[in-house]
Chain length 357, copies 2
């Protein structure tokens, strides 16, 4: 079988060694004669998995003591609601930055519980950039933003300065570059980009900033309750957490976030150079907002798309179609994607220009 | 490696053929060269999995056209809240039957949204039976109960008669016996007993009974929204749904729910006979409320526990310890457990009596 260059936007490529170890655990976990997925989540072997996963997140992000890590369910979509329940006091308002579909989804859920001040938005320009010169109001309970926008291929280069607690949805760029995690009251991120398979969301929480809303919080949305049960309030999604743990190990063994960032910078350099140096293509996102995770681009001449599509498919590339709301192409370059795959795509783009330039 | 007789209370035993196929899919799904967990959930191969899983549930439960099937996240715990949001109108009351920990959890979440009338409870007798002669009030918006109570080993033998819509948490006995599914407005069940691994909950919904509460429902808790997106409102838990689909196929190929019920009846017969015929043991649940899924029992003489524990461990039995709130032993006999495993346990119990009787 030929190698597949997997540019899928998520669920997305995972390290081959992780897939192989996960596959073995599904039939025989730790030589127990039992599958990982048919043992009690309260058994020592699985509690060890959960604790190692939580601890690896702390290690990779260099989190201070006051931070807790949870692996919950419901996707970032449920996270939008959980955020408002845990950080928006009754009668207070929250500040949100609108950078596209997921940011808008977060705004919608927060509005169910209080006032939302959308302090910046790039909606008018098709979300092709990250708003600049954002002023965060001091009278809001918290600031929420989405660090990377998969659909549009935009990413915050620097985070907004804020004197109020900051909550960030980092679903599509967590663990992709060094961040100062302790600037955040909470970071949450769906696993299915840089960390593991679909089915779990990591929550990274400054526990000193919880418990201040005066709300009665439904059980599954109550972060303090989850923390008090060490992320085992109810049966956790065992397999997604196990594979996340293996991927976190892989990141650590690769040299941690700094080593990954270096790889990701190189992939982005090759990719954006392939777009900018090619007369047949143009990028969607403005240069100052370009994502290192998802490069969005299109052909200047749509009539070449059939030729281009057959060329990249022949090269073993998969998952390159753009999101329907932007069109064109999207090269998702999450942590597990090798530089080599980006080079294969760059070569196909150059070859298209050579033949049709 | 010796065969393990897996009596785990959940996550629990799954069919060996399912585990093997799932293991292969983690490295190479359908000979695509890609793992099941690194492809888009919107790709045809995964949409096919989701649709087959939904359709197998309909087939196994012989559901009429008006029913819809969803695979969501958050466990039954989030289901408790989802139930109240979708069926409890503002200002209305709901009727709940309290048969233990999970039923109480459901009551707690419903109370956040309205009045709850606990119309029957076995709390006073340590939840060792299912309340009898239950009268369901016609002025409640719906009736909620838990069909099987894993911790106590009790199970409804007949469902309460009701003129109001009925919602049932069947997490631990769905697909274990024939039921008249169209008596229910909604059935929900965590996958990790009879259907698959932890990480997804199946919702079986009479869609004609939705949309009547007048509430603004948060996005992830809105069953109508999930139905309108064919259970793909956001990224679904791909692996748990895939393994559930394989297990549903296994049930169908075994002859469906009737064939499974016959096997389960035989296991329960062997198990309860082993308890009742043995002078060293007594059951926890009253005979008229005994669960075919979880048999709870204890030694009359605690001093034999060390001997008994080493005997069943030597026989390759795992997961037999009772829940901490009941103590003693719990033999969970979910669908995938072979009759042979129950016989092995019964033999060990008889041997204990022979030596110490």
């Amino acid at each position: 079988m030929n190698k597949v260059h997997n540019f899928s936007a998520g669920p997305c490529i995972l390290p081959q060694s992780v897939l192989e170890e996960a596959s073995r655990a599904v039939v025989d976990f730790n030589n127990s004669g039992l599958s990982l997925i048919e043992i009690s989540h309260r058994s020592k072997p699985f509690v060890d998995v959960m604790e190692e996963a939580r601890s690896l997140v702390k290690e990779l992000l260099e989190l201070p003591e006051r931070y807790e890590v949870l692996f919950l369910q419901g996707g970032a979509t449920l996270g939008f609601l959980t955020t408002a329940y845990n950080y928006l006091p009754v009668g207070a308002k929250a500040a949100y930055i609108d950078t596209g579909t997921w940011a808008s989804g977060a705004i919608k859920e927060a509005k169910l519980l209080g006032d939302v001040d959308v302090i910046a938005s790039s909606a008018d320009s098709g979300y092709n950039h990250i708003p600049k010169n954002i002023v965060v109001p001091n009278d809001a309970a918290y600031l929420h933003f989405t660090s990377n926008n998969t659909i549009y291929g935009t990413q915050f280069q620097d985070f907004p300065k804020s004197d109020i607690p900051v909550v960030c949805d980092m679903s599509s760029d967590i663990f992709s570059k060094r961040i100062k995690a302790d600037d955040f009251a909470m970071i949450y991120a769906g696993a299915q980009k840089n960390m593991g398979p679909a089915g779990t969301v990591v929550y990274i929480i400054d526990k000193e900033q919880l418990g201040k809303t005066g709300r009665k919080i439904p059980t599954y949305l109550d972060l303090e309750k989850h923390i008090s049960k060490d992320s085992m309030l109810n049966t956790p999604p065992v397999f997604p957490i196990y594979v996340s743990m293996l991927t976190l190990r892989w990141m650590r063994d690769l040299g941690g976030v700094d080593a990954i960032e270096k790889r990701n910078n190189e992939k982005a350099r090759v990719m954006y150079n392939a777009i900018d140096s090619n007369p047949l293509f143009k990028g969607h996102a403005t240069a100052d907002s370009r994502s290192h995770m998802n490069a969005t681009f299109m052909l200047n001449d749509e009539s070449l798309s059939e030729t281009f599509d057959s060329m990249w498919k022949a090269a073993g590339i998969s998952g390159l179609k753009g999101h329907r709301s932007v069109g064109g192409y999207r090269a998702s370059m999450y942590n597990a994607l090798p530089v080599e795959s980006v080079q294969v795509l760059a070569d196909v783009m150059a070859e298209l220009a050579r033949v049709n330039g």
